[in-house]
Symmetry: none
Subunit: 205 residues, 4 copies
């Protein structure tokens, strides 16, 4: 197994750096978003990144590894930042609002990344299983703990299963993002944060 350059330590989630590795990842996000994973040609990614085709294989095992890496590094950064934001917040309602806001702000900032997240990362059952095992599970756990905390504080209703609520919140957010990338109207995704939080907290009634 050929050694390869180690991933750079501090630019997680942004891919904005100028190392070849970062340029490849960023180019891949754009090309995947444009054409879809299966229709994306490695040559296109290379061209978009300004490197030779073969260079991609110095940094990644192949096309699929590029996609997985995008997801892994993006998710890691996403979760780290969310934890930081939650650090000083104690009221369960506020914690839910922060999580909701973070989700919509982060994806609303980068449409190509959102497309990859909502569409390309889900192109097969095998791939979805892979991802839902680790990273998505971590995210759902964070949401679940917020709910549990709210329930133990007596702020949230206790007859709802926390894991179920976590999935529901994720489902709503997920649909908002998908709807946004498919929408022909231009609007700020993050604008919907309050509405989502209101619905989740107060219900329909």
């Amino acid at each position: 197994m050929p050694r390869r350059p180690a991933p750079p330590p501090h630019d997680i989630g942004s891919f904005r750096g100028t190392t070849k590795r970062e340029r490849i990842l960023r180019a891949a996000v754009d090309v995947f978003a444009q054409n879809g994973y299966f229709n994306a040609k490695v040559t296109e990614i290379a061209k978009a990144a300004g490197v030779a085709d073969g260079t991609i294989y110095l940094y990644f095992d192949g096309k699929e590894d590029v996609l997985i890496t995008i997801f892994r590094e993006y998710t890691r950064g996403y979760l780290e930042q969310l934890e930081k934001k939650l650090a000083g917040i104690n009221r369960p309602e506020d914690r839910i609002r922060v999580a909701i806001g973070h989700h919509l702000e982060t994806l609303g900032r980068d449409r190509a990344l959102a497309v990859v997240s909502q569409v390309e990362l889900r192109h097969s059952l095998k791939f979805m299983s892979l991802l839902s095992q680790q990273e998505v599970a971590d995210y759902l756990n964070m949401l679940r703990k917020i709910v549990e905390h709210g329930q133990s504080e007596g702020v949230f209703r206790r007859n709802l299963h926390p894991q179920f609520v976590a999935k529901s919140v994720f489902g709503i957010l997920d649909e908002m993002v998908t709807s946004w990338i498919l929408s022909e109207k231009e609007y700020e995704l993050a604008e919907q944060a309050d509405q989502v939080a209101d619905l989740v907290l107060a219900g329909l009634l």
Copy 2:
């Protein structure tokens, strides 16, 4: 002169018939669910359907048309049945519960179809756009009208945008289905209908 046999009129949504066309659609659902759309080979679908490769092209324009047809015919049957179920129901809360139950029951009944619905139909932005334009829009409209009706009756809170609520409900249901197909545990999807309805109706607080 018609290029191909017209679709039969009355077996929509089931694919259980024994015409070649139906057998192809059913086989395609299974093969797409098994391997994913891109990895599914036309030959495999033909073999599973018990027809020759070329026969598929007598009934469909190609592989993609098969997938689109699955979606179209499935969705049409789905919506027709939902409308029937809603026919005698008047209370907005009950109407929501019926819609939620229908969603989870229908997909919970056929895992392969659920996989195609949750995974394969979303494999590209172009495809998602196509579908969300018409059929998904119809479904969201039905949900929206239920919400509007509830609001005009004074049963539902009026400060929530009906379209937004419709998308949220869809998002929750969607996540429940996805979570179900990815789950290693065996459980009945429809069991979650009440929990979903409770959350939607009463909120977290």
Copy 3:
């Protein structure tokens, strides 16, 4: 595993038929002889056979399988014919002469096949092992039995190991063929049969 058309039963060793399978094998012999196995492009074989690239994969598992098949079918035919020729011959010296003649006549008749046999089939240790296990072993066994018969008849010296003699005869013949394909002079390979037999039978002294 896709079924593939069964090999035709009666034209073993010649490849002169006009089925696609035979045309591919014959074309492969020529292209391998011309450029060497590793430098031979599948496209070239297809073009030489007058079929599309993909057609080769209907009949063979790949480039390597084509080479193996050439060897297998050629050798089978070779051994069958040798057995027939030996059928009516009883004197050990004559049997040796027939075997020697058969070897040189068969390869001397088809230079491209001789090149494949002497060069391309030996391009790797793994490949040589594969081939020497079965087919070459069969050939050596035939030669060995001729020697054993001669020894038991009291015609051949008994202090030589029959397997060793078989290998020696094979080695001499092999070198004559190789030398012939490398030679710039044009001569009939089969002309050397008597000389080889003389040397083998009478030795240098």
Copy 4:
């Protein structure tokens, strides 16, 4: 201005030295023997030699040049040593025995070199032609002269063509070496020297 360092004069045939050039040649013999010439990667040779990939190109024109060099330098050493061994020997039978012994001892001593010699050096017609023109021809000439000497002394039969006998002896030896490297049994190649000589000298009868 010379493009590369001149080959060192005195370590011919051994490659055991510790100059980079020698280490590369020795590593190449091992890697070629292991994987075959075409499957051998330059990177592997470099790693085995403990040098950088690019360094190989300071000493050789490329992968093929490495293989040719191995052959050239090995053969030169082989022939020089054989000449020395023959220096004091006069009887034709003994001279033949010495040549046979030298062949089997030299290759029997280094299996990797034997593999390269029997397999890798013969991977293409073009390559075989190249080699048979010069070095192999020299070797055959040596053997031929031994035979001619024996004939003029009246020790060997005169009705055999000396060049033909030389090729035959070479063919037998070649087959013994090939058989040895393919054999699963462990045995000393040189043990067969007497048997070969016996057969060559006395024939089957």
